[in-house]
Amino acid sequence: MITAGIDVGIESLKAVILKDGKVLARGIGLSGGVNRARTTEQVWRDTLAAARLKPGDVSKIIATGQGKNDVGFVQERITEPVADARAARFLYPKATCVVDIGADQVRVVTLGPQNNILEVVMNQKCAAGLGILLKSMARTLGMTLEEMSRLSDGPTAAAAVNDGCSVFAEMDAFSLLNRNTPKEEVARAVTEAVAVRINSILNDKMKPSKESTVLVGGLSRNKAVVNALKRRSGINFLIPEQAEYAGALGAALMAAE
């Protein structure tokens, strides 16, 4: 049977169409802020087209992600960690923990022996704005996220910015720029700050295992952040390709059950 999952994120929308455990098609699009409902339908239609299917062919659609309540055409909604957990188990049967780093949320999901969830840790408000901080810094530095990721990949920066709060961090970054610190250095400092934040959330309750922890979510594509995080936490993350689709995949798998 054919099922689908849609991940309505803060920054981007992801859709996955699944047939008997095989991915038929993936679709991604920028989440249109408040017009999320409309843009989601667009992405959904494109994905259907890519899979050469009619809406009728899909027996069940499940939505997840922070904007899941904004889309109308789905049968069911599940919360993000549940979807992440499902996807992680599907991709890596041995996985014991899945970490999802997104635009403004970090979710650390500890998996139990069966498909149950032992613990979920989400960042508190003041630790929010990870992806968003990077985005707005990229804007300030006048580079794209990819460039920023490429430039800031490397050893820990000598300069440091506040790692507690996005706004302070930016303030510090401005000060650095003002003292003619090279862009790369600033970018690296900001990346480090983000890594510090994420790591402190990894430390929050159950420490993730070094070997069997899966890393998914939009930020997992950002090499610089991931490397900095590996350095800090000493965790050797398992990162699936198409990591940003994990949520949608999980939702689709749930729909199949």
Partner: protein, 437 residues
């Protein structure tokens, strides 16, 4: 929607309680016109002065936050422009903001205080409490020490502390007599000590009944009640009566399996004040069939509990409750009885400050599945060791959820939607879905 497992019905005593609360509020507003002294603080012995009414700013601030976001906002601003930092307890900021504005929520004039007797408490905000009215207009302020120390209890160490507290109390009483020319009535004090000892058995019973499944009451009911003991000092007899009535009704509810939440299938606990402007999250949790059986904070009237060696859940004793049976003849006896044999404060807060494990006992005794522990970013006593408790609780298999806000009485920076999302995540990740949409 699924069939309810247990019958639910509103608490009958509640109406009576409402009346008493209204009366109390009135008695505060009319204090100045009746030429009655109004004291800022919360003291057991105020009863000794016939013409002295006591008001603490906590309930006021909480009420404001709960009733009107707008007014609370304006009050906080009134305080902010005078230099109040965001770290200041939200209750105070609301209450004193209203003082600076000079009127209350309903537009009636603000009841200005005539003197300040801060209730000693381990929370630093309490230590400095009541300075605002003192700095605003020159009124006397009296303070006691609230001894604290870590490690095992040491009665020798506490001798000096007890003497100090007895001395302070007597001193304050004499000062009030001197300054305001009021006569202190020892008889009433002695009587009230006995009475105050009299409330707690009922309160303790109520607390104990809540271990029953389904829980006869929920956090919401407790929050309506737990201040009553403090509210109606003016008539201790009445207070005891209503607590007895409550006790009996709850007992009856237990016998007939009357539940607070019809579909109770998940029990969770709290620690410390909720966001008073956002109490609807209790109802929201009920959609999952989850009931909040309270917190050490809301079971406070019953005094601190602990698990006895024989495994029963019983009050820890100490404090004045211990000594009410001793003969009380003089003012000093009464004061000593109030302070009791233990000078080290042992209300809910110290239990946490001294050993973060206290909540574990509570969790076990009330068979909770989860705990929601707020992190008040700028609250002091409300945040200290909260994270530690979370870790301890998860060690005994209780699922913990933290959410972040600014202050219990302060709407700023509490992201309600994020909190709702977190509640969903928390429930679903434990395999629970909403019972009805």
């Amino acid at each position: 929607m699924s069939k309810q497992r247990w019958e639910t019905r509103p608490l009958e005593v509640w109406n009576k309680a409402k009346e008493m609360r209204a009366e109390w509020q009135k008695s505060i507003d009319t204090a100045s016109s009746e030429r009655v002294l109004l004291a800022q603080g919360n003291i057991q012995w105020s009863i000794g002065f016939p013409a002295l009414r006591v008001i603490e700013d906590n309930p006021v601030g909480a009420m404001m936050a709960n009733k009107s976001d707008e007014f609370a906002r304006i009050c906080r601003l009134a305080g902010e422009v005078l230099g109040w930092g965001r770290e200041v307890c939200g209750y105070q900021l609301n209450c004193w903001g209203a003082m600076y504005l000079g009127h209350q929520m309903d537009g009636s004039p603000f009841p200005f205080r005539d003197l300040v007797i801060p209730f000693p408490d381990p929370c630093d905000q309490h230590t400095k409490r009541g300075q605002a009215p003192m700095d605003y207009s020159p009124i006397p302020r009296f303070q006691e020490n609230w001894p604290l120390y870590t490690g095992p209890r040491d009665t020798d160490r506490e001798k000096a502390m007890i003497e100090d507290r007895v001395y302070c109390t007597l001193y304050i009483i004499e000062e009030i007599e001197r300054i305001f020319g009021q006569k202190f009535d020892d008889e009433r004090l002695i009587e009230s000590v006995k009475v105050a000892g009299g409330i707690s058995p009922y309160a303790q019973d109520v607390s104990r009944f809540m271990q029953h499944i389904p829980s006869p009451l929920s956090q919401k009911d407790l929050y309506s009640f737990y201040t009553l003991g403090g509210l109606t000092k003016s008539d201790p007899g009445e207070t005891v009566a209503i607590w007895k009535a409550l006790r009996d009704e709850v007992e009856w509810r237990v016998e007939n399996n009357i539940a607070a939440v019809g579909n109770e299938r998940y029990r969770w606990m709290e620690a410390h004040p909720p966001p008073w402007h956002f109490l609807k999250y209790y109802r929201y949790m009920e959609k999952y069939g989850a009931v909040c059986i309270g917190s050490q904070y809301s079971h406070m009237m019953a005094g601190p509990f602990e698990i006895k060696p024989d495994g029963t859940w019983a009050p820890r004793g100490g404090g004045f409750r211990q000594l009410v049976n001793k003969p009380i003849k003089t003012r000093e006896d009464a004061i000593r009885a109030m302070i009791g044999t233990e000078a080290r404060g042992h209300r809910f807060k110290d239990d946490e400050v001294i050993r973060p494990y206290a909540l574990n006992d509570f969790a076990k005794a009330y068979k909770v599945n989860g705990a929601i522990l707020p992190l008040w970013r700028c609250g002091v006593g409300c945040t200290v060791t909260r994270k530690e408790q979370g870790l301890r609780l998860s060690e005994i298999g209780v699922r913990v959820l933290h959410y972040e806000g600014s202050q219990p009485g302060d709407r700023t920076d509490l992201d309600e939607n994020r909190m709702m999302d977190q509640l969903d995540v928390w429930m679903e990740s434990q395999g629970l879905r909403k019972l009805e949409e």
